[in-house]
Amino acid sequence: MLELRNVTKMYPSGPVALKEVSITVTEGEFVFVVGPSGAGKTTLTKLLMCEERPTSGSIIINNFDVNKLRPKEVPLLRRSMGVVFQDFRLMPTWTVEENVAFAMVVVEVAPRHIRRRVAEVLSLVGLTNKRNQLPGQLSGGEQQRVALARAIVNQPSLVLADEPTGNLDPETSWGIVKLLLDINATGTTMLMVTHANQIVDSLRKRVIALDAGRVARDEEGGVYHG
């Protein structure tokens, strides 16, 4: 599913971002990635999204070997994963429905399939009633649900959630996490990068803690502060 072996990432200027990181995530797992700012969490997500390549070491995601990936194949890798960001990244001038459908339009799915599937995921995230509204008319939690719907609309086998609750109040955050758990329950692997210690501590899932570019801790049923 997801395998990093001795991954090191160095930037021309600045310290080593990741040092000899090895992580294996099997299909259907729910994993928290935690750690202080500058620990390498952002670099890790960039590597997973293939926005950057590792300096050394190998990364295999959904059977794609990142080191052997040609530029043309990068979009294929990205289609096999859904991504959610802290800042939602929605188009403000498009309706909820259009925002979600866009992920299917760019991978050239037939319009009738798009309509059906979009209706399905919107009902899953509980936004059927708001499908014709613009993101600006929604609360932060609702906007993140739209982003989540967009992330799973193409049925990826992996969802990468980069601080998905970072901009939300605790109560709303729980709503989002609940959805992530629901999606994970259908077999989708979930990788959630987060600072929300209460969530991590109460769910007792696998926790990978990064510190100064290294894996400081990787434990099942872990907590935020080891």
Partner: protein, 295 residues
């Protein structure tokens, strides 16, 4: 393989951004139109001068301008010319006749000739016909050797001059066009850059949901193409309209040298301009995408 409805999506997003940046769209179309218009005008003039040159070349007549000769000397010369091989006819044109022709030539605009009647600067001449156009140069050579003949003018010489003019026109046209085309390309590149900037959010989303590079690029390429082609259409329309007007009015003024028939000349010209417009448009957007769209 890009699907048909995806092309629809590309055209739609290209159209939307053209409407959104309507001023830049107009500026781009305008510069393309102006540069192609300049090229078109130069090409049309060159084609016509070429045609005139060909017409002149096919004429088998020479003109021998005479120095100051007495009537007897002139008659002797006439006999001598008639005897040259290849000469089939000869007509004498007096100074007065030459003057009358000049007046006729300028029609209503003859006012500027006023005051010249007294001295009449024109020369007497013989107009000499030959049996074939191949003979013209040969006869001209012979004529130049005769005493009393000051200067010999014939088709070839005029043709050479006309062809030199054509070359000049074409050269100037192409140089001007290249400069203007570069300017047009620059404006289009800038327009596309603004579009890329205006849509950076959308582009970012496209990237992480797995759109291919070409899927991201196509709308911009299409926008550039549309700007170039619309500009070309504008210039072709203006040229066609202008040329029809020119043909109509020049027929009345100089019926002896009619302009080249608009059809199929304008059709060919329009196709050429459209092709160039497309090249300018695609070129402009490509330059911009290379620099500003890091995909």
């Amino acid at each position: 393989m890009v699907k048909l409805r995806t092309w629809g999506y590309f055209a739609d997003s290209a159209g939307k951004s053209m409407l959104r940046n309507s001023w830049m769209t107009l500026a781009s179309i305008g510069t393309v139109a102006v540069s192609l218009l300049v090229l078109g005008v130069f090409l049309l003039v060159a084609v016509n001068v070429n045609t005139i040159a060909a017409q002149v070349e096919s004429q088998v007549e020479l003109t021998a301008y005479l120095g100051k000769l007495s009537v007897t000397e002139r008659q002797a010369l006439e006999t001598e010319i008639k005897a040259l091989p290849g000469v089939t006819g000869i007509t004498f044109v007096s100074k007065d006749q030459a003057w009358e022709r000049l007046l006729g030539w300028y029609g209503n605009d003859r006012a500027f000739l006023a005051g010249w009647e007294e001295e009449n600067p024109l020369r007497e001449s013989f107009e000499i016909r030959t049996d074939s156009s191949h003979r013209v140069a040969e006869v001209a050579n012979e004529l130049t050797g005769l005493s009393g003949v000051e200067e010999v003018l014939y088709g070839r010489e005029i043709v050479d001059k006309l062809l030199a003019i054509t070359r000049m026109i074409r050269l100037v046209g192409i140089v001007l066009m290249c400069g203007l085309a570069l300017a047009a390309m620059f404006i289009i590149a800038n327009t596309i850059r603004i579009t890329v900037f205006a849509r950076r959010r959308e582009i970012g989303i496209m990237r992480f949901v797995g759109a291919t590079d070409w899927f991201i690029r196509w709308p911009f390429v299409m926008e550039g193409l549309a700007l170039g082609v619309v500009g070309a259409l504008v210039s072709a329309s203006v040229l066609a309209w202008g040329y029809y007007l020119a043909v109509r009015s020049l027929v009345r003024v100089m019926p002896f040298w009619p302009l080249v028939s608009p059809w199929p000349l304008l059709q060919h010209l329009a196709l050429l301009l459209l092709a160039l417009g497309a090249v300018i448009g695609i070129g402009g957007s490509t330059v911009s995408l290379r620099r500003y769209l890091d995909v």
